[in-house]
């Protein structure tokens, strides 16, 4: 398989399917033995196999490679916005249209109730079967989708409703009509407007976080990812085509882009990883929804307590901090470092040791270098790799 396209049966899931088949056989045998008398031996075997199966899922899913995560994130049976709407919210009134061009099926919007909270919901929808997928354009919105999203969010702001967005798109649609109707502009405007909305925003990447098309509904006070979701500046196929000159190399690109929930938590981009049921959300929609619901409730309860101007200030600072670079004396140190160790030290950087760009960044350009701090902003590991203690105030 050269792309992560059709993935009803994931190759790395084969041992799980095999064991599930065996379990099925054994259950049939159990039924037969019960009819014939003593079935306790078979029952014991079934119990053992169930434990083994859980262990197998655990082992496989705890160690998925990036490209495998992408396949799980794209799994056709993975729950989408509409399933979560049914399973998470107590009430939902869908609201359509962008009041200008049309109603984009790739983004679902509406009022929802979640326990004591009334919220505005905005989420990508990819569709489950072919006719749904066509109606949703495979979750790739046109400009009217982003306009619809921001309009509903502005309604939420007016009435003080918190906003919850679910991200699940391969990307904003790359098409002729999309360009004619200003795809770049609507996404840009959404980023700006979301950064200024005077109401709390919670975003969760539930499946695919495809670049600007994801970010276009994803500027938030709390950003989380489901465990096996991915979030990336470009699809692995797109990246492979550009940098490796062939989409065949998408697995390598998926690895290099550091797009998994664990990576993003390490970079300080997301606040939380929402765990999935054993073996992925596609195996148990209900359990996935229930974990997601408890995250949402926790985030909502936290955010509604914070004064709105503080929420806004914190949202600004949240994005303001993001970035990894050298500055001032660091820049000079980087030069020295590069001369000494070449690029090797930089490649030793690991996600686990990355923090969001920190407060030790001088606000103004270099003062005369006295102490040379070889730590680039937001990265401790570089100095660590050289066995010098990173300086931190």
């Amino acid at each position: 398989m050269s792309t992560a396209g059709d993935n009803r049966r994931l190759s790395f899931d084969a041992p799980i399917h095999e064991m599930e088949a065996r379990l099925g056989e054994m259950q049939a045998e159990y039924a037969r033995s019960r009819a014939g008398g003593d079935a306790s031996a078979v029952a014991e075997q079934i119990r053992r196999l169930r434990r083994e199966l859980a262990g197998l899922k655990q082992t496989i899913y705890a160690n998925l490679e990036a490209w495998q995560q992408v396949q799980v994130a794209r799994h056709v049976e993975r729950p989408q916005s509409r399933e979560y709407i049914d399973l998470v919210f107590d009430e939902f009134i869908e609201l359509h249209g962008d009041r200008a061009v049309g109603d984009d099926g790739a983004i679902v919007t509406g009022l929802a109730r979640l326990d004591e909270h009334k919220i505005m919901f905005v989420g990508h929808q990819k569709g489950r079967n072919l006719s749904e997928r066509t109606a949703c354009n495979f979750g790739m919105p046109h400009p009217e989708g982003y306009r619809k999203a921001i309009l509903k969010m502005q309604t939420a702001e007016k009435f003080g409703l918190p906003i919850v967005t679910f991200i699940d798109t391969p990307g904003a649609y790359p098409g002729i009509a999309a360009e004619e109707r200003g795809q770049a502009l609507v996404i840009a405007e959404n980023l700006l407007k979301m950064s200024m909305l005077k109401t709390p925003i919670i975003s969760v990447v539930i499946g695919e976080g495809g670049s600007g098309g994801a970010l276009g509904i994803g500027v938030a006070d709390r950003l989380a990812m489901l465990e096996h979701a991915y979030y990336s500046v470009i699809t692995p196929e797109g990246c492979a085509t550009i940098l490796w000159k062939s989409s065949e190399h998408w697995k390598k690109a998926a690895e290099a882009l550091r797009m998994t929930s664990r990576d993003l938590l390490g970079f300080g981009i997301i606040d939380e990883v929402v765990p999935e049921p054993l073996g992925g959300a596609h195996r148990d929609h209900r359990e996935a929804a229930s974990t997601l619901k408890s995250f949402l409730l926790r985030a909502l309860r936290e955010l509604v307590e914070i004064p709105r101007d503080v929420v806004l200030q914190q949202r600004y600072e949240k994005y303001r901090r993001i970035g990894v670079f050298f500055e001032g004396v660091d820049a000079a140190a980087a030069e020295v470092l590069e001369a000494v160790v070449g690029s090797a030290s930089a490649t030793e950087t690991t996600a686990a040791t990355l923090a969001p760009a920190d407060q030790q960044r001088p606000t103004r350009p270099p003062i005369a270098a006295v102490d040379v701090d070889p730590t680039p902003h937001g990265v401790d590991s570089r100095a660590g790799a050289l066995e010098t203690a990173p300086t931190r105030d």
Partner: protein
């Protein structure tokens, strides 16, 4: 693509180190063979067909700003390698090669200068540095420029040139720069600040889908390629012939997404006049 990117003498913090090119060059627009010096003296615009060649940041500053008035800020910002990215070449190595080739530390230059006597905060991206793509440094510099413009109540002018959009090599951190710069521009607008965005060839992807599209006034140079998705990607997706002139400045003007197309020779004057109109005198 590197055609016509030679530099004029310019008094700034960085010394452009472009590879010397031949005496003659061919125009991408009309295929005419042109005397390079003549093209350069014409602001890197083809004297035959008005084709606008890409220009370096240094050239752009020289063309727009009153002589010797540009003061660069945060020139020392340099990219890190948060992902440990290595496609067929380690990212830090790629950066170093680009730095040597262009004489720039990164794809963006910000600072202040005077345009016909009006003080402005200026941001520029150089489409020649890793395709003018936006990583952490570009995002940080433009954010600081926007914040400074807000603080000092100065007009902000950003001249974009980016075929690369958000830079893949810095992954999700690049994508988030779109939100970061857009947030700063949101505050600038809310404070009543003026932002004029100038789009040059090419302005694509994450750059087009963030700061470049957020001007009070959006100008574009003639025939620049401007859009969200690259034409190749679109052609592969929709599998039909793209219309002529698709994603050009003229296409965007026709569809209502930019205010004016401005010839390079008129850009400086147009900026000054526009700023004057919306600045209390």
């Amino acid at each position: 693509m590197a055609q016509g990117r030679q530099s004029h003498a310019w008094h700034g913090h960085f010394e452009p180190k472009r590879v010397p090119e031949g005496v003659w060059m061919r125009c991408d627009g009309c295929q005419a063979t042109l005397f390079r010096k003549q093209v350069e003296e014409n602001l890197n615009v083809c004297p035959e067909c008005d084709h606008h060649f890409q220009v370096s940041v240094a050239d752009r500053v020289a063309q727009l700003v009153d002589t010797d008035t540009f003061e660069e800020w945060h020139a020392d910002l340099r990219p890190g390698d948060p992902l440990g990215f290595n496609d067929r070449r380690p990212y830090p190595e790629r950066i170093r090669a680009e730095q040597e080739r262009t004489g720039l530390n990164e794809a963006a230059v910000v600072g202040q200068g005077f345009i016909k006597g009006i003080r402005v905060v200026l941001g520029l991206t150089d489409s020649g540095f890793i395709m003018g793509s936006m990583g952490s440094v570009v995002g940080e510099k433009l954010t600081r420029a926007a914040e400074e413009a807000t603080r000092q109540r100065l007009p902000l002018v950003i001249v974009s040139g980016s075929g690369g959009g958000a830079r893949m090599h810095e992954g999700i951190l690049s994508l988030m720069q779109m939100a970061k710069v857009s947030s700063a521009l949101g505050r600038h607008h809310a404070a009543g600040g003026l932002f004029i965005s100038v789009l040059t060839h090419p302005t694509m992807g994450g750059v087009a889908a963030s700061f470049a599209s957020l001007g009070d006034i959006i100008l574009a140079e003639p025939k620049a390629l401007i859009g969200f998705a690259g034409p190749k990607v679109i052609a592969q997706t929709v599998r039909v012939q793209l219309p002529t002139g698709f994603q050009t400045s003229e296409f965007l003007l026709e569809h209502g997404f930019i205010d004016r197309i401005v010839h390079r020779r008129d850009l400086r004057g147009t900026l000054a006049r526009l700023i004057d109109f919306v600045t209390p005198s």
